[in-house]
């Protein structure tokens, strides 16, 4: 353990945590309205990363474009594409099962997840695993130093964009009429329907928002880190984000954000301590611990779940 490296590692942890938090928001919102663990959510994140890749490498001409416009259009394409994908998934896989036993919904969610991962092998380029070209990430070139910490401006951008998206979401949920309807549905599905809330529309909106947030996470992670993409790119981050959502109390939006940052930092700490081989196992250990001892999570209400 090298204590000097710790602060620098924490910066990475916060960047990772921001991504997990973005994905966890989708999990927690969908769980809030439908009581469904949307296993396919991690794969929506993967699709978002791929859309960003295709936008930068094939669909748009990256040499002749302003790099900042390119980055923003990648973000927009990924978010819009995944919003559509989320809408499709909700409409054709989950809506017909409204009212079915929850285990059927869960199995369907697993099926959709597998379908995106393995069906994606056909649609997306996987061999060799493509990655977004370094030159796209113009922000990586300059970094700023604060108290001896080197902070990549790409890391800063990830953090800032995440923060902006979260604030927008929070404004939407607390200030708009649709947001209020969403909270009502999440509070009590049947009563909200009786009170004249168009439940199907709200569920669709939830999927659109959740999926576009995940896509933003996928685009930013794939661009900032330049990791090779496969169709299983979203599997592990998806699971970790789910743990983050449970950790913060599933159904609770601020909880998901806090959970996401805790997960990101925990993961980095495990690697820093020299147990890099177990970095993916940590998430599950935290999950099992939370579910065994405090199933409502850090900020969740004590009711239900168990």
């Amino acid at each position: 353990m090298n204590w000097d490296l710790l602060p620098q590692q924490l910066v990475i942890g916060i960047q990772l945590g921001a991504i997990y938090a973005l994905i966890a928001l989708g999990y927690t919102m969908v769980y809030g309205v439908l009581r469904l663990i949307n296993f396919a959510h991690g794969d929506v994140y993967m699709v978002g990363a791929y859309l960003a890749y295709y936008t930068s490498m094939q669909w748009f001409n990256r040499e002749s474009m302003n790099p900042y416009v390119l980055l923003i259009s990648m973000l927009v394409v990924a978010m819009v594409g995944c919003a559509l994908l989320g809408l499709l998934i909700e409409r054709f896989a989950y809506r017909p099962l409204r009212g079915a036993p929850r285990s059927s919904l869960l199995i369907t969610a697993i099926g959709v997840s597998l379908l995106l991962e393995h069906g994606g092998l056909l649609v997306f380029k996987t061999a060799p695993p493509p990655s977004i070209h370094e030159s796209v990430n113009v922000l990586a070139k300059n970094s700023l130093v604060v108290f001896g910490l080197r902070i990549d401006s790409a890391q800063l951008a990830v953090f800032v964009v995440t923060l902006i998206l979260m604030l927008l979401l929070w404004q939407f949920v607390t200030r708009t009429k649709t947001g209020r309807a969403m909270r009502a549905v999440s509070h009590d599905f049947d009563t909200a329907a009786l009170m004249g809330v168009d439940v199907n529309r709200i569920v669709a909106v939830t999927f659109v928002i959740g999926s576009s947030l995940a896509a933003a996470g996928g685009m930013m992670n794939a661009t900032a880190l330049g990791t090779p993409l496969t169709t299983f790119y979203g599997l592990i981050p998806g699971v970790k984000a789910f743990v983050a959502a449970v950790l913060g109390g599933i159904g609770n939006i601020p909880g998901a954000v806090v959970g996401g940052f805790i997960m990101g930092i925990c993961e980095v700490l495990v690697v820093w301590a020299g147990y890099g081989g177990y970095r993916d196992a940590v998430a599950f250990v935290i999950l099992i611990g939370i579910l065994m001892f405090k199933p409502s999570g850090l900020f969740g209400s004590a009711a239900e779940k168990v």
Binding site: G111, H118, L122, F242, G277, D280, A283
Partner: protein, 473 residues
């Protein structure tokens, strides 16, 4: 009914003899005619059927949704594999007895794990339990992946890490796998016949009501986990001694999901369904390896056609039902008969194709079974529905060129997909997933529902209708 000891023990003796006969026939009669690939397929399908039946014990019969079954399979495989590598050469024990010992060891190791995983089931239900079992499965895999005898190993344990563990000698024969499947089925089935077994069903149907009527739900749930896990551990023991090489990738999330898919598609709660789905889906996976690749645009055209037809049928159905058209039913039944003839023709061509004998035999059995079930069934009720399917397939094939031309005309698609070919070997899991989603949407109880195979059911299927029934109809 009075208890007749003669008949009781007579039936038991007879079924034991039958089992011995079937297994011996498989090992010494059928196997010598097949090549190595065929026998491998048989072993794998039998092992996966055992896994499905053992998971059905937890998922289907007791209703505790577990999606980390590969963990128990892994524990059985690795425990016994390691023991065989370390101890077998020094111990002078006959291979058969050693294998049985290993099965018991694997069962005990996995059973203990099952006990540990079963504990959360006391507090958690539904999706949360599912996630914990999934998490346990992943933890088990990641821990094994790090046991390479180096820094991150616990007590310097060497399980080969990510590179895998070689297990020698390969002791498992086809007969062992068959015996294990029969044993697994017998355990599940006979357990359900006892008073204790009914409490498993009671927990599945309504836990609170079960508790109120005096069922000890704690013991019941944990027992289900331990039995299911122990059976999976035995399967793992046979697998490691058959394959001769095990690595963590054999037991990842996908493996767990495949087993879940088998149970769900076969019919949650049906032992027959799980076993059949286990065998069929394993063979299907292999069969898809051999299918030729298809042009991307053609595939998309087929899918678009299928969507159009599905929408059309769902829109037309209420109209047709209002008229209760008998003529339409007859026409559809005609198409159904046409489909039967087509299936028989397919059997004829399949018999000549170059394919693994086991897969060929499987497909031919399915097709002939389908035709028999449709034509001999009482009143031939299934024929119009089958006719609709046949009609849809014909329409899809006819629609394909139209959509394909349309797709080729779009410059964006032409540029990106114009020359792409899809190979079905990648499609295998996608087809599994699609089957899973479709089964959930169309028939959530699975192929067999809660039903089991019985001779009476088979008799009922082939019985001609009585005279009075015919007049009444």
């Amino acid at each position: 009914m009075t208890f007749n000891p003669g008949k009781y023990w007579g039936t038991r003796l007879l079924s034991l003899l039958l089992v011995a006969g079937v297994v011996a026939g498989l090992q010494y009669g059928i196997l010598p005619m097949l090549d190595g690939y065929d026998s491998r397929l048989i072993v794998l399908s039998l092992l996966f059927a055992s896994l499905a039946v053992s998971l059905n014990m937890i998922n289907g019969i007791t209703g505790q949704f577990s999606i980390g079954h590969a963990a128990f399979y892994l524990i059985g495989a690795y425990t016994t594999g390691r023991l065989t590598m370390s101890l077998f050469p020094q111990m002078h024990i006959s291979p058969g007895i050693w294998l049985i010992m290993m099965c018991i060891v694997g069962a005990i190791a996995a059973g203990i794990a099952g006990f540990i995983v079963g504990l959360p089931s006391l507090r958690l239900r539904g999706d949360y339990l599912a996630i914990v079992t999934l998490g346990f499965g992943e933890i088990a895999r990641i821990v094994v992946q790090n046991q390479d005898g180096k820094a991150l190993s616990f007590w310097g344990l060497d399980l080969g890490g990510a590179f895998g563990l070689t297990v020698k000698p390969q002791l498992t024969q086809v007969a062992h796998a068959a015996l294990l499947l029969i044993f697994t089925i017998a355990v599940s089935r006979n357990l359900l016949k006892t008073a204790q077994g009914l409490s498993f069903l009671a927990v599945r149907e309504d836990e609170i009501a079960a508790e109120a009527t005096g069922v000890n739900t704690t013991v019941t749930k944990i027992t289900a986990f331990v039995i299911g896990a122990a059976l999976a551990g035995m399967t793992g023991a046979l697998f490691s001694h058959y394959e001769g090489f095990i690595s963590p990738t054999h037991f990842d999330m996908n493996a767990s999901f495949i087993i879940v898919a088998m149970v769900v598609i076969g019919g949650t709660g049906s032992i027959t369904g799980s076993a059949v789905a286990g065998i069929v889906l394993t063979l299907l996976q292999e069969a898809l390896r051999k299918v030729q690749s298809i042009a991307a645009i053609d595939l998309i055209a087929y899918i678009l056609g299928a969507i159009v037809i599905a929408v059309a049928v769902s829109q037309l159905k209420p109209m047709v039902r209002m008229h209760k058209s008998a003529g339409l039913k007859k026409t559809l039944a005609g198409f159904g008969l046409l489909g039967c003839v087509g299936a028989l023709a397919a059997v004829f061509f399949l018999a000549k194709m170059d394919m693994a004998t086991v897969i060929k035999a499987g497909i031919i059995t399915l097709l002939i079974g389908l035709v028999l079930a449709l034509t001999v069934q009482r009143g031939r009720k299934g024929l119009p529905a089958f006719g609709l399917v046949v009609l849809a397939i014909i329409a899809d094939i006819l629609l394909r060129p139209i959509f394909a031309v349309g797709l080729h005309a779009v410059p964006f698609i032409q540029k990106n997909l114009g020359t792409t070919e899809y190979s079905p070997s990648n499609l295998r899991m996608a087809i599994f997933a699609l089957a899973l989603v479709v089964v959930m949407l169309v028939k959530p109880q699975g192929m067999f529902g809660h039903h089991e195979f019985s001779w009476d059911w088979l008799k009922g299927l082939f019985k001609r209708p009585h005279r009075e029934e015919e007049i009444a109809a």
